[in-house]
């Protein structure tokens, strides 16, 4: 019998349930060359951690994540802790030469992300960031269409991520409280995923609810972005937009066509080709991404049967663990620590632009960071 690949999960928040579900699913749906074993779980809070371990069928539980990282039986670590703990746990994992999948954002800021990028390069092992939306079938199809050149060069990119979970009671300003810019860094990753790099950014951010409204630990932000290559982009995120639950809309307007996607209708991709207009039938094509030839769909159901949000995690883990097991590089579509670092540079640029009320270049952000040139 083939030796299983043993995963250690750090953290017991809701995202751990998503990853655990995906890892279980893979064994049933598309077995890898080594069976996946959820071997150990670490969480600071015993009650919550034990319950999560029980739910996911994990036998080993500890309140000390170092025990899991150091355990010689554990092959791969999933860092699913709060972002304040990403640096230490991920560095410790890489120092032991173990592959790691770290949830987004890679670090609290560009300095932490740079340190982790450097650690990953030194370790020379597979290291990925949990930008799971790259693994939604519709968004992968979007990437394929953009890469094919059918939409031409990007003129405009825009993305919004709107939710209302904090509209009633916004989190108060605590040292560890999350901020919208980094929390919603998925839209920054989407911008890059569809081939766009930022040159410079201007932004406004604000804490909009609760007694302590102000500029730090923002509930919402808007950013205007100059893209390398001449295009422009807009980014907006909010956790106080009543009525929106998961409105993550991504749109790409190229010289030869457009596409858009909405997470609230996530199996569909909308694509416009101007050539369709010649005979009066031009319009966004409403593509139900469910055909066997569509990305990832061959591992699921017959055509027309849709997948959910959670499937992105299964796709992400399949690529990551396949690379680990087969000793192959990560697929270029998967978010590497380089991608995590680039997202952190962009987050810091947005924060700096909003705080200092000025145009900030990405080069300026990068100039204050050192990443040693270690071969990957």
């Amino acid at each position: 019998m083939t030796d299983p690949i043993r995963i250690g999960l750090l953290g017991a928040g809701w995202i751990t349930r998503a990853h655990g579900h995906a890892l279980h699913t893979l064994n049933h749906v598309t077995p890898l060359h080594r069976p996946i074993e959820l071997a150990a779980l670490a969480a600071r809070t015993p009650d919550r951690g034990l319950a999560m371990a029980r739910d996911l069928g994990i036998e080993k539980f500890t309140t000390d994540w170092r025990e899991v990282v150091d355990d010689p039986d554990i092959d791969v670590i999933a860092v699913l802790l709060g972002e304040t703990a990403h640096l230490e746990a991920t560095q410790a994992t890489l120092a032991l030469g173990k592959p790691v999948l770290c949830e987004k954002p890679l670090g609290r800021d560009r300095f932490e992300a740079a340190a982790l990028l450097e650690a990953a390069r030194r370790a020379g092992v597979r290291a990925a960031v949990g930008f799971n939306y790259r693994y939604m079938p519709a968004m992968r199809l979007a990437r394929e269409i953009v890469d094919s050149g059918r939409l031409g060069r990007c003129l405009q990119f825009r993305a919004v991520y709107l939710q209302d979970h904090a509209a009633g009671t916004s989190p108060s300003r605590k040292p560890n409280a999350s901020r919208a810019i980094t929390d919603y860094c998925h839209i920054i990753d989407f911008m890059r995923y569809l081939g766009n790099e930022a040159e410079a950014v201007q932004a406004t951010a604000a804490k909009l609810t609760g007694a302590d409204v102000g500029v730090d630990l923002e509930d919402a932000y808007v950013a205007a972005v100059e893209l390398r290559g001449g295009g422009i982009a807009s980014l907006e995120a909010s956790r106080v937009a009543w009525g929106w639950k998961g409105r993550q809309v991504v749109e790409f307007n190229g010289t030869a066509g457009s596409l858009w996607w909405d997470m609230e209708d996530l199996n569909r991709l909308h694509v416009f080709y101007p050539g369709d207009e010649a005979d009066g039938t031009g319009g966004f094509r409403d593509i139900l991404v469910s055909q066997p030839d569509h990305p990832f769909m061959d591992m699921w159901w017959p055509p027309g049967h849709t997948v959910g949000w959670e499937h992105s995690f299964a796709h992400e883990w399949r690529d990551f663990l396949t690379a680990v097991i087969e000793d192959q590089p990560l697929p270029v579509e998967q978010a590497s620590f380089e991608d995590g670092y680039q997202a952190a540079l962009m987050c810091d640029a947005v924060i700096t632009a909003a705080t200092e009320k000025r145009r900030v270049t990405l080069d300026e952000m990068a100039a204050t960071v050192t990443v040693s040139d270690v071969p990957a």
């Binding site: 199809l141 569909r268 694509v271 039938t281």
Partner: protein, 406 residues
């Protein structure tokens, strides 16, 4: 500059649709400045003088006539529009034709196909123009779908599905208007909005051969209406709180049918006035051997079409109506892509076509023969619902069409 000839319009019936036609006629000159024949609003007749007076005042008709006979006989009335319960249509249309007046009838043309055939024959014998108010045929989005079908872009027709769902009668307090009485309406929702489905099915796919239907009554009794009640909900009816006399509903609130077409396609039709949440929801979809198209009245200014494509990006396209679509340019008063044609636009387009046809001495794109054929489909639906048996559509013998005297 040549002054366009004028055609005197006489309106019989002063309810909701009379208002819609009056508004559309008022808008024609600015929308269609080159129209060779222009409407002049002359007279209104209704058994309810107050409703007639209101229509005259609102749309600038010259006068109220005391009854339909006076209106039909008036020298300055050239075309008679009937917006009446179907049972009252007969004598007015026959009277207008006998007086040599052109006629436009709201749908349904008559209480059944045989009654409709009598009206068609009378108009043909008199050589007058006869137009049917099947206005959805003039929705630019539906016309665009028809064009795709005519060009063969969807291939051979395979199937048609359509619903026309409303909820105005979901409230049991909506009074017993003429629409709830067989004596006046000839039927219930099938002969009302089901008529549009039959007409649209024929417009897009072809003639219907057989019908398997069913009908259902949701509320067998309703309060009696007040004197001025008009519209679907009886606006203007007396307040119905307190003790109210009730009357029996003898026609269906919902109907459904499976139909077959002469060309081998089949269709599924459903209409109801008691579907909560559906306001005026007409949805149509046609599927051919290589493509499909669909349309939704609640988003009336767009249609969707699925045409052959590479598999990865195959999908329905949402097409916004623009100036390149048939009949749309005149109605897009914003003059730009991205503006919209509203519900009244189709009525304007219908009238523009009717007036042009009269000027050119030809028949209408939707005429009384269409009314007879639409009625025959509904007749078959009722017969099938009563017998439980699939029923052939029986078209009464129709006379040969004759040229219309302009």
């Amino acid at each position: 500059m040549t002054v366009a000839r004028q055609l005197g319009i006489g309106m019989v019936g002063a309810g909701t649709m009379a208002g819609a036609h009056s508004l559309a006629l008022s808008m024609l000159a600015p929308l269609y400045p080159d129209l060779p024949l222009r409407p002049r609003l002359v007279a209104v007749a209704d058994v309810n003088d107050r409703l007639a007076a209101r229509l005259v005042e609102r749309y600038g008709y010259a006068r109220v006539e005391p009854d339909w006979r006076a209106l039909v006989d008036a020298q300055d009335v050239d075309l008679v529009v009937t917006c009446l319960p179907p049972a009252y249509n007969r004598e007015v249309v026959l009277g207008a034709a006998a007086a040599g007046k052109h006629v436009v009838s709201e749908k349904p043309l008559a209480t059944d196909a045989a009654a409709g055939a009598e009206l068609l024959a009378a108009c043909q014998a008199a050589g007058v123009f006869h137009g049917l108010g099947a206005a959805y045929r003039w929705m630019p989005a539906l016309r665009a779908i028809r064009e795709l079908i005519d060009r063969g872009e969807l291939g051979e027709m395979r199937s048609f599905r359509a619903t026309f769902l409303l909820d105005y009668a979901a409230d049991p307090d909506v009074p017993l208007l003429w629409r709830f009485q067989k004596r006046l309406a000839g039927g219930g929702i099938a002969i009302d909005t089901g008529y549009h489905l039959a007409d649209t099915a024929r417009y897009l796919v072809g003639e219907i051969e057989t019908v398997q239907g069913l009908t259902a009554i949701a509320y067998p009794e309703r309060p009696l209406p007040g004197a001025d009640a008009i519209g679907n909900r009886g606006a203007g009816s007396a307040d119905s709180t307190g003790a109210v006399a009730m009357g029996a509903v003898d026609v269906e609130d919902a109907a459904a049918a499976i139909v077959t077409f002469e060309n081998g396609a089949y269709g599924v039709l459903e209409t109801s006035r008691v579907t909560r949440g559906r306001r005026v929801a007409m949805e149509v979809e046609v599927s051919g051997t290589v493509g499909s198209a669909r349309w939704d009245l609640e988003r009336g200014n767009e249609f969707q079409v699925c045409l052959p494509s590479d598999e990865a990006t195959l999908g329905y396209r949402r097409v916004l109506v623009n100036a390149q679509h048939p009949g749309a340019a005149e109605l897009l008063v914003g003059g730009a892509d991205g503006t919209s044609v509203g519900w009244i636009g189709q009525v304007c387009a219908m009238w523009a076509e009717f007036l042009t046809a009269i000027h050119e001495g030809r028949g209408a794109h939707a005429d009384f023969e269409d009314g007879v054929r639409d009625s025959a489909v509904i007749d078959a639906l009722y017969a099938s619902a009563a017998s439980g048996v699939r029923t052939s559509v029986m078209i009464p013998t129709l006379g040969a069409a004759r040229a219309v005297t302009a």
